[in-house]
């Protein structure tokens, strides 16, 4: 069994769906941080079978948690101070996300207009459906690999 030590200051993202940690690493911009980051893949989980975990030694408020919520709002966010969990943050689906996913509708203006930000809005909270701000095309999970 692999052991990774505790962190003193920072946060732990737990219950990440197995295989999604690298996607989150990229989208949270963790590659640009000068902090210690531990990526644990395929850890054993009673509830999930397998899960990923991210441990990051930096201030949580410097990160865009909306992106995290969009990718998977079931992730548990534990804020750590002096080596102990001081807060558990719940994630809510963001009303709008910008620059995270791309519209794949070839008829959408965003496919040709230069420097147009890719904006999606939460059209149906219950079914977690996002639509393109310009053409209303539904974002489908299959496009997630292109994130």
């Amino acid at each position: 069994m692999l052991n990774i030590g505790k962190i003193e200051e920072g946060f732990v993202l737990d219950h990440i769906q197995a295989g999604k940690s690298m996607q989150i690493y990229r989208h949270l911009g963790l590659d640009k941080l000068d902090s210690t980051v531990a990526i644990i893949k395929n850890a054993k989980s009673k509830a999930m079978g397998k899960k990923d975990i991210l441990k990051v030694e930096c201030d949580i408020d410097s990160l865009d948690l909306d992106v995290l919520a969009f990718i998977d709002h079931n992730i548990t966010v534990n804020v750590i101070k002096d080596g102990v969990i001081i807060e558990k943050r719940s994630l809510v689906l963001p009303k709008q996300i910008t620059g995270v996913i791309k519209c794949h509708n070839p008829r959408c203006i965003s496919s040709i207009e230069q420097e147009l930000p890719q904006i999606f809005y939460l059209a149906d909270e219950e079914n977690e459906i996002y639509r393109c701000r310009y053409c209303d095309e539904k974002y489908s999970e299959g496009d997630a690999n292109n994130l």
Binding site: C108, I109, R133, Y134
Partner: protein
Amino acid sequence: MEKLRHMMNPLDFSVEELEDLFDLAGEIEKDLPGFSHKCDGKILATCFYEPSTRTRLSFETAMIRLGGQVIGFADANSSSAAKGESVADTIRVISCFADICAMRHPKEGAPMVAASKSSIPVINAGDGGHQHPTQTLTDLLTIRSLYGSLKNFTIGLCGDLKFGRTVHSLINALSRYEGIRFIFISPKELKVPDYITEMLRQKNIPYEEVIKLEEVMPQLDFLYMTRVQKERFFNEEDYIRLRNFYILDKEKMALAKEKMFILHPLPRVNEISVEIDNDPRAAYFKQVQYGMYVRMALILTLLGIK
């Protein structure tokens, strides 16, 4: 300073705002000459990146009848888009020339991009298969004028209900009014999309889906016809078997109420037999007239002219 308003989607206006718009269109209908100087000195730019003669002429006539003038282009080849100019840059330039802009574009969402960069009101005059709000406003005004209100009636929508953006937009717009019952008449290949029927179920709005027009004709107060295109079918046999179900002729009209009205977004091909044109219930050319009135009312409203 009043907030700049645009028309991107028929739902951009509340039901109350639409009532005001339709009241104004009604006043224009009663006294056209009384409005002939309302837009003196104003300029409408019609930026049509793809040809649509009827819509463009309707907008241009609307502005001219209000006393204003018109500039613009009728296809992308005669605009700077052919040189690669972005929609955002084009509208910034147009904003320096005109007071209001009607934009048609083959790319979905282009008028919205224009509106976000514009300093003048922008009207979406059709963006690909996405929205065509002034067609929906035309349909609503026609129904309201012929029926007296936008409440308590049964409307049949017939033909291609899967791909027809005017149909989807009209259903969405009518779903905000009380007592509307929808009957969707189409081959199963061209049924109304699930997200529309889901929306109706959520709002407890009654609807029915049938294949044959004859079955439901006697129940309808309005029949909204659309074209069934051959290329939408998987095979020719199905097309030949089904096409006659969706052609409106005298025989089918004999089953309809005396006061039922036929609407059609036009152009019509063969889905409404020309023998129906003189039937007093044929309202599709009158609908074109209402289209001009509603565009006049929209131009005045967006320009803030009383």
